[in-house]
């Protein structure tokens, strides 16, 4: 008798599901490659997607910059 796995089924994150654009490959790690470069007191965050779209945001907070990049990605249809 096989033991039933208790591990949760893998699920797409909410952001993956919301993105809904073909340049995002949800199963790839976090949309593509991220580059984070400190720029004085701010931080410059760049995302290069699988589809070779590059978005760059300069912000006080890295998390806010990442959120803004994902918002921009969703707005690109």
């Amino acid at each position: 008798m096989t033991k039933k796995s208790t591990a949760p089924a893998p699920a797409l994150s909410d952001m993956d599901a919301d993105a809904g654009v073909d340049i995002v490959t949800p199963h790839k790690d976090r949309y593509g490659s991220w580059a984070v470069i400190p720029s004085g007191k701010r931080v410059e965050v760049t995302l290069t997607t699988q589809g070779n779209t590059q978005i760059m945001v300069t912000h006080d907070s890295e998390e806010e910059a990442r959120a803004q990049i994902l918002d921009t990605l969703k707005a690109l249809k």
Binding site: I23, T53, Q54, I55, M56, V57, T72, K77
Partner: protein, 162 residues
């Protein structure tokens, strides 16, 4: 007979170009003012920034010694940069640029002229020049970046070149 020793060039522009010039734009989102830079998928065309200056002059009175002075001024009338992108409209940035050109949405631009070691940035709108090329060409879409205001910066230091 000993050969003369060659000398290295003193300028740093003769080396192998490791990075090409490129352009980033930020299209104003509806009802928001956040700046997210998108790298434009350029084909070969990323022309230099051409300043549209106008010179005006005013001749002043003629002096008793029969000489005159002319007042001259140079008025800045924006600038433009012609570019061409990969024309495939499945590219989301090309689509967003086309929409911005049609609606007249304001954009910000940042042109990285690696060859000049400077960055030109400012406010602009996009104008479409339409599809270019025939059946045997690699398709491209022409745009004009119609610049309203701009400044030059040293890329290495970020200092304004005033």
């Amino acid at each position: 007979m000993p050969l003369p020793e060659p000398t290295y060039p003193s300028v740093n522009l003769v080396g192998v170009r490791k990075e090409f010039d490129y352009l980033m734009i930020a299209i104003k989102p509806d009802g928001a003012s956040t700046v997210s830079w998108l790298r434009v998928p350029l084909l070969s065309q990323f022309d230099a920034l051409t300043e549209n200056n106008q010179d005006v002059e005013l001749s002043t009175f003629v002096g008793a010694d029969n000489t005159s002075t002319t007042l001259r001024a140079r008025l800045k009338r924006g600038a433009n940069i012609p570019i061409a992108t990969a024309a495939h409209v499945s590219d989301p940035v090309v689509k967003a640029m086309l929409a911005a050109a049609t609606k007249g949405t304001p954009v910000l631009f940042r042109g990285y002229y690696k060859s000049m070691e400077l960055v030109a940035q400012g406010q602009a709108t996009l104008g479409s020049r339409g599809m270019q090329g025939g059946t045997e060409d690699i398709p491209q879409w022409g745009f004009d970046l119609l610049i309203m205001s701009y400044n030059y910066y040293e890329e290495a230091t970020g200092n304004l070149i005033a």
